[in-house]
Every structure is written in structure tokens, then in C-alpha cells.
Symmetry: C2
Subunit: 282 residues, 2 copies
């Protein structure tokens, strides 16, 4: 299969369907990778109390759309960064499923030095849609192909000019990425010091989707009363790298019934998830 | 299949062969469960540097002999404790294998209140034997069937009357057992607070084989120069429970060329792995 060059013509391209199945062990391994612990979240890591499935688990099957893009488009792995993610939950994610992921490229923008590619994975089983994951992929050095620049996102989901209503802190672990990657994203940039340096980073850093899920766990606990079906959507931008050992501090502003603006920072104050918003059943 | 009662007649019983296969993800997940971290042991948790396989991984396929015993003998899970373990490495464990485990009961002793059942799993692939794991299973409340008491093990592998040559410390994690159990031993006693209390323990505690492997990692690093093929055997008794959050302090006494007596304690001074011995290529 020959890979296509990045051009504006990719927008709207269907990438077909990928089959995927998962089981209790998969969802528990994922929960452990994003920081669930038996002393705090037993029902997510022990089949004897469920297991319940974290809503953000949807990014794992949904993320096959990213894999589809990499398989079908000329992208150099070391130049690829995950820019934004949005997940929509259509129903509770089952702990055991045999599903397909319908993958497509939604948009392609030319940011000058970089290309921005949007892709979407709709996860369905025989009972219907489960969730949709949408990702914006930032490909460094791949711009200048003559596409549109795309809409400005300045000011989108800006936090209100007041202190957050809720702040939740999470301490990342040195082995966090090593556990998380076993859920499927084995990109060496998140574990290999040499590869990370080659790609221009001081050290391996956490998967954006792992940060996303740490934030999702904070929202689940603080805004959804720990009930997975209450979380409906979560979206945000990966604004900076989280390095292993960093704290992830999630700030939440309630902006309406079942709606909150979210921002995550490290203990150093750098914003790592920006322009984030969640909706939930209030 | 009807299960057999515990009697002395079980000794020598072949339990047949079980097929097992494993891959890179399995051996890396195991390494993470026993405390390997990318900043210290990258080659065990990253396929781009191997992955190398920890020698104690052999207890995972070899442990199918324990499963065979549970399937074939009338044992109440809450009354079962893992008493001793011994592993022999016949060659380097490959990171990817399709193997069979030849399982048998080696001995059955009547300890009065408890029964002691020895079982062995010989792991082979088409290139020949890989490793042998031998386990002694202590079944509380199952003695008094009229069998022999078995040999006394007092004084076996006693540490020399001097300070250890090497001491290695390891801090266990709250989620350690939750990660470790995904390698196969899903006994709820290691994660479920209610089940642990039902079985007479204050809290869930670490798998004996996880402690065994933490000790094995210390030996690999301190006595084998980090070269897995140099570790030949490791045996020991599970003398007490390790609770999550405990430190495991491994003491090693070199007692001859390629031979050391080993003992592991927690930070409270209670011995958790006793009468332990390792042999290695010096």
C-alpha cells in the first residue's frame, strides 16, 4: 500500500474500518496506566467489582483512526505530535467488546511550517455506536503544501477570569508511560531517551492521551460523582509536554449546568492541556 | 471433571500438559509488575532495547502447574497459601514463545492442620526445555488425612552468622499487585479487601511470586551483572506477607563461587522470604 503525500485533498477521505476487541484485562491495564489505584479506584482495576470502564478508554479504540492516518499518509513518526483530542460518549463503554472503528480524515490545514490533520474514529459494536474520538495531528516540517490555514482557535474554551471551582492534583510516576503504552501507543518518543532527543526533546514524555485521561479521571471524580455514564464529552489541546515525575494539576470552572471549562498545568505552572471543556449529566 | 480429595496418593500424579504462549508485551507487563522501571531497567520494559526477559518470568508459565493442581484437587482458594518456590533456568527465556508446560504433583505431606502439596511445571518449546518452576502449596485446614509429615526443613539455607555481603532495598507500590496480577494470578486475596479479611488477613497482600521476583531482580543486578543468562536457580520460602507499601530488603551472603544465601525482610524486620538460595555463573 503506497502512502499518500499530505495535501488538502486528504480532507474528507474515508480510511475504512478497523476491527478491534477488548476485554476486562485491557480496560484494567488502561486504568492502571492512567493512574487508577486499587486503594482509590478498586472498581476500575478489579474484575470482582466490575470492572467499570473509564470513559476516556474510548480514545484507545478511537485512536485507531490515528494509526490509519499513519498507515495511509506520508508522515515521519519523529515529527508527529498529537495536538488536540475530543471524545464523545454515546453510551457506557462495555468492559468486553468486539467492535469496529470507522476511520476518516476530517480536515487538513497548512500551518506554514507544519501540517494539521484532523481524523475521527467512530467506535461501534453490534448494539450501535459506543464513542467517537477525534484527534488533531500536528506534523512538524510538513506544511507549505498550499492548503488553507484553518480557523483560529484563539479564545476557544478560555477559562473564566476567576479562581477555578475545583482543583485536583495528580503525581505522575516514572513508569507511567511504560505501563500506559501497553494499551497500544508504542511510539518510542514516550520511552526511549535517544529517540526523544532525536525528535528534539530533552527526555521521553507522557502520551498526550495519558494526560487527557488523568484529567478525565479528575472530572469523573469531581464533577460526575464517579459515575462513568455521566461524562458526555471532553475536548482539549496538548499545549506542552508532561515529563514523568511532573504533577498534573487539573483546574475546573463550572460554566453552566453540566458544563465546565478545564485546564491542566504541571507544578511548574506550564499549561499542558489548554482550551479544554467537558459536558456531563448534572 | 471431578476434583480429587487431598490424600497421599496424589504424590507423583501427572497432570498432563498445558499449552502457553507469550510475547513481548507479556514479558514487559510482568517486568513492570515486579518493579522494573524505564529509568533503571529500560531493556526489560521496552521492545526497542530487547526486551530482555527477567529470569523469574519462568514462574508465570511454570505456575500453570499450580493452576493444574487447583483444577484437579479439592482445594478451597481462600485456604491456599503459596509456601515455597524454586526456579531452574535451562536457557535464556525468549521474549516470544509458544510452549507447553508439563505439570505434575511431586509430593503430598500431612502437616496436621494443613496439607502441603508440591507441584512442578516444566516449560518447553520446540527448541527444548526453557525452565522448571517448583511450588509448595500450603492448604490450611486440609491436613489430618493420614499422610507423612515430610522432611524437616529447619536449618536449610540458613544465613551465615555475619553481616550480609550485599543489601538491596525496594519500595513496593500501592498498585503493585494490581499490575502484577495481570500476568495471570488473579487470586482476589491480592486485591480485594473483603476477600482478604474473609481469608483472615488484615488487608490484601502481595503475591509471593511478586516478592520472589523483586528478590530475583536484586540478585540479577547485584550478583549477575544484569545478565539474565547468568542466573541459574533461585529457591525460597514465603515466610510472611508483604503488604503494599512495605519495603522489601534483600540480604545476600556469598557462600561460594556462583552461590549465595538470600533472605528478604520488610522495613519492620519481619522475614518474608526465608531459607533462600541462588546459584549463578560467577
Amino acid at each position: 500500500m503506497s502512502r499518500k503525500p499530505i495535501t488538502k485533498d486528504l480532507a474528507g477521505l474515508s480510511l475504512g474500518s478497523k476491527p478491534i476487541s477488548w476485554n476486562q484485562k485491557d480496560v484494567m491495564l488502561y486504568a492502571l496506566g492512567v493512574g487508577s489505584r486499587p486503594d482509590e479506584d478498586l472498581e476500575y482495576v478489579y474484575e470482582g467489582r466490575g470492572p467499570k470502564v473509564l470513559p476516556t478508554y474510548g480514545v484507545i479504540p478511537g485512536g485507531l483512526a490515528i494509526l490509519s492516518v499513519i498507515e495511509n499518509v506520508e508522515i515521519e513518526l519523529a515529527m508527529l505530535l498529537h495536538g488536540e483530542e475530543a471524545i464523545t460518549l454515546h453510551r457506557e463503554i462495555p468492559p468486553l467488546a468486539s467492535a469496529v472503528v470507522k476511520c476518516r480524515i476530517t480536515e487538513v490545514y497548512d500551518k506554514g511550517k507544519a501540517a494539521l490533520i484532523g481524523c475521527e474514529g467512530l467506535v461501534e459494536d453490534d448494539k450501535g455506536p459506543i464513542c467517537t474520538a477525534k484527534s488533531m495531528l500536528f506534523v512538524r516540517g510538513a506544511g507549505g503544501f498550499g492548503g488553507e490555514r484553518g480557523p483560529s482557535t484563539a479564545g476557544v474554551n478560555a477559562p473564566p477570569d476567576r479562581a477555578p471551582d475545583i482543583v485536583a492534583e495528580y503525581q505522575t510516576r516514572p513508569e507511567q508511560g511504560a505501563v500506559y503504552r501497553l494499551s497500544g501507543d508504542m511510539n518510542p518518543i514516550h520511552i526511549d531517551p535517544d529517540f526523544a532527543k532525536f525528535a528534539g526533546f530533552e527526555n521521553p514524555f507522557m502520551h498526550g492521551l495519558c494526560t487527557f485521561s488523568v484529567v478525565g479521571r479528575a472530572i469523573l471524580r469531581e464533577l460526575c460523582g464517579g459515575v462513568p455514564t455521566r461524562l458526555k464529552t471532553l475536548e482539549g489541546r496538548f499545549a506542552d509536554q508532561v515529563y514523568y515525575g511532573n504533577k498534573i494539576i487539573t483546574k475546573m470552572w463550572k460554566t453552566g449546568p453540566g458544563e465546565a471549562i478545564v485546564q491542566a498545568e504541571t507544578q511548574k505552572g506550564n499549561i499542558v492541556l489548554s482550551q479544554a471543556r467537558t459536558t456531563y449529566t448534572s
